[in-house]
């Protein structure tokens, strides 16, 4: 495995292997001295062409705890804005002899294009409305810790699905691990061609959250941006919250063991109520905490290769 561009590139055993390694990485987090020598002398560039707080921080911490030299670059501060092509920009950094670039880019597919141009490893840290593989891996890790193996489990993914890279990676990841997935959103927020896609890949599509909630083991709420209203995707925030929000009433529809995820940042009162976000069954903070461990595992699998993680 040289790059992590899309969950679609990973075999189920590779996903499982990354999640298993993350378990031992997670233990590092509880140590007083959080440092492994694994990536000493390796250089990892966090190249973010789009703003990010948690993903960037968690990749940076993951690199530092594994003793890599990590450097943060932002697209805005480089020659990208001066008319240089993206290829020129990344080749310049690659030529400095780096081992890995972790790319966040507002355009779908940019990390895959960059992987074709450069020699170093590329990790997709979120590309446009395409994928966010490390988020899906940490979500799977979190769900697995809570529910056990995901084979046969039923997960609903609810929210602004058409604009969500988290959706695409999670759908692929959960399906690869054998989970049953149902997408829930108003028709305007479903990805294009969702019915053909569902038929090809074996998942379900519903416009009725009340009908789906009693059946699931986990519900993953995705952020809905208020700006979408101006695009005519839905009439008002109130209508969205009433029809698709995880309201206090809907919490009562969930099975006792069912859990709640949200990749953040949350819009409390829109897609998720405070009651749901702060419920005992909410895994929101577990997701954040798993982020560093899973990203350490990703760095390990791409840069350290086979062998003992410790």
């Amino acid at each position: 495995m040289k790059h992590l561009l899309s969950i679609a590139d990973l075999a189920p055993e590779e996903i499982t292997s990354i999640l298993d390694t993350a378990v031992s990485m997670h233990e590092v987090q509880d140590r007083q001295v959080k440092k492994l020598p694994t990536l000493r002398g390796r250089t990892v560039i966090n190249f973010f062409f789009e703003d990010s707080t948690r993903t960037r921080a968690s990749f940076e911490i993951a690199g530092k705890w594994m003793s890599a030299d990590t450097i943060n670059l932002t697209g805005k501060g480089t020659s990208v804005s001066k008319g240089e092509s993206l290829r020129d920009t990344v080749l310049t950094i690659d030529a400095m002899g780096v081992d890995m670039m972790i790319i966040r880019h507002p355009a779908s597919g940019a990390p895959a294009q960059i992987a074709d141009w450069v020699d170093c490893s590329i990790v997709n840290a979120g590309d446009g409305t395409h994928e966010h593989p490390s988020q899906a891996l940490l979500d799977a890790y979190t769900l697995r810790r809570s529910l056990g193996e995901l084979e046969g489990r039923h997960v609903a993914i609810v929210g602004d699905l058409t604009h969500s890279r988290v959706l695409r990676s999670n759908l692929l990841c959960l399906r690869a691990l054998g989970a049953h997935v149902t997408l829930v959103a108003p028709p305007t927020l479903m990805p294009s061609g969702v019915h053909a896609w569902a038929a090809a890949d074996g998942f379900d599509v519903s416009y009725d959250l009340d009908e789906v909630l009693p059946q699931v083991d986990a519900v993953m709420m995705l952020r809905v941006q208020r700006e979408r209203m101006s695009g005519g995707y839905f009439p008002t925030a109130k209508e969205y919250a009433v029809t698709y929000g995880l309201t206090p009433r809907r919490l009562g529809l969930l099975q006792d063991h069912a859990v709640i995820c949200h990749p953040g940042p949350m819009n409390r009162g829109l897609e998720i109520s405070a009651d749901a976000a702060d419920a005992a069954r909410s895994l929101v903070l577990d997701q954040v905490s798993a982020g560093v461990a899973v990203r350490m595992s990703i760095l390990y699998h791409l840069l350290a290769g086979e062998g003992d993680a410790q």
């Binding site: 290829r87 355009a107 597919g109 940019a110 590309d127 294009s192 061609g193």
Partner: protein, 444 residues
């Protein structure tokens, strides 16, 4: 050019309708068939064309030559050379240059650049609206009356989406038998970010969707406007089965609508976008194979009138961006005939006579070119294209005469190759190489 000796082309399959000889004297087809050899003067040179197909010189309704303004991507001269290599003897150069071809002065500049280059007849297309802004009409009449005699008007790259302005443009150009070539894209349904056919694939790839309906609603509106005004409308680069349905219906009503399809929409499909290679980013986008099949059928049955390249050169740095940020467009002049040969003729959907109709006679007629597309007949100007119908070749983008390299056909093997191109009896290209534009040597 008067020093070009007479030339007898022998044994060519003339427009796919049988072998015969063609005599070219002083830039004109003097005789065709049995009389040709008998009428040949003493100093006639001979060109053995056994096994080759002889077509009237190809005419491209839709080319971007980039000059003036982006001479780093293409010049009138380099684009003309690519056209000649591709078997063309006339091209219509789109107006989206810098400055825009929205005045008689710019139109005449482009015309003169074409004449100076001398490889093909370059006919400027005039902008419909000033600076392509979609707000006020450009000086359509002055362009029509200029030396460039502009007859085709288009804001290509942008849609004339204001219904009232489109109506006025259609009405206005009637005075000089002009036609508006519409880039059909409702900007409210497919804005400037739209870059992938909207469907399952755009859903999976997370690319902004460009739904077929954004084209189809404009085509439907425009044919109704053409009916209302009694004017001619031409649909540029038709890309969906739905647009074909509308055009077929409109023609059945007697509405004066014509349509063109590009070689890439005939042969390539949206599946090329899986790797996010901006070489395949084009507007309108590549569509699913179901649409491509309907386009082929519609070209064969005459619903679509013409093949046009939408040759759109771009420098490397404008393509080497993230897919969403890269420029739209792909090269097409050199590969158009081989692609049509491969996907239409070799597949048995069209004859060479149909190729002559869709790539020469009809496009010349749509653009009201009087000296092009007359067919291989005695008395016509000697604009001729010899095709080797069985030669296969693998496209190598580095061999292109274009200054740009955004060639989606690179590495593909196509059947059928342009053997020789002749403009007014003068050879302009032969087997992929341009011939001198001032020397008078013939092939032999």
């Amino acid at each position: 050019m008067s020093t070009t000796p007479p030339l007898l082309i022998t044994g060519a399959d003339i427009e796919g309708e049988g072998a015969g000889d063609v005599l070219v004297v002083d830039g004109t087809i003097r005789a065709v068939g049995a009389d040709a050899a008998a009428e040949a003067p003493q100093d006639t040179q001979r060109l053995d064309a056994d096994g080759l197909v002889l077509l009237p010189g190809l005419v491209d309704l839709h080319t971007h030559l980039r000059e003036p303004g982006r001479e780093d991507a293409e010049t009138v001269e380099s684009g003309s050379q690519a056209a000649a290599v591709g078997g063309f003897t006339a091209v219509l150069a789109m107006a989206n240059t810098t400055p825009v071809t929205d005045s008689a002065e710019v139109a005449e500049t482009v015309l003169d650049l074409g004449r100076r280059a001398g490889y093909v007849d370059v006919h400027p297309v005039g902008a419909v609206t000033k600076a392509l802004a979609g707000e006020e009409l450009a000086e359509l009449g002055l362009m029509a009356r200029s030396r460039a005699r502009v007859r085709v008007f288009s804001d290509d790259g942008r849609c004339v989406h204001d219904a009232r302005l489109m109506r006025r443009a259609l009405e206005y150009v009637k005075a000089f038998d002009g036609v508006v070539s519409q880039h059909a894209q409702d900007p409210r349904l497919a804005d400037g970010t739209a870059c992938c056919h909207e469907g399952e694939l755009s859903g999976r790839l997370g690319l902004p969707g460009w739904p077929g309906v954004a084209e189809e609603t404009i085509v439907a509106r425009d044919v109704m406007l053409a009916r209302h005004t009694g004017s001619r409308v031409h649909v540029a680069h038709v890309s969906t089965a739905g647009s074909v349905e509308v055009v077929r219906w409109a023609k059945a009503q007697g509405i004066a609508v014509t349509a063109e399809v590009t070689p890439h929409h005939l042969m390539l499909t949206e599946d090329e976008l899986v790797g996010y290679d901006p070489t395949f980013k084009v507007n309108p986008p590549l569509r699913p194979s179901e649409d491509a099949l309907v386009l082929r059928q519609a070209l064969a049955d005459g619903t679509i009138d013409a093949v046009a390249t939408d040759h759109a050169p771009h420098v490397r740095q404008d393509k080497e961006h993230a897919f969403a940020d890269a420029a739209f467009g792909m090269l097409g002049l050199e590969t158009a005939l081989p692609v049509v040969s491969t996907v239409m003729v070799a597949e048995g959907l069209m004859t060479w006579s149909d190729v002559a109709r869709t790539m020469s006679t009809t496009p010349a007629h749509i653009a009201r070119l009087t000296d092009q597309g007359q067919g291989v007949v005695a008395g016509a100007s000697a604009h001729l294209t010899l095709v080797d119908p069985t030669r296969t070749h693998t496209v190598d983008r580095t061999l292109s005469r274009s200054l740009s390299r955004n060639n989606p056909w690179h590495g593909r093997t196509l059947t059928g190759a342009v053997h020789l191109t002749m403009l007014r009896g003068r050879v302009t290209a032969r087997k992929g190489l341009v011939w001198g534009n001032t020397t008078e040597e013939s092939d032999q």
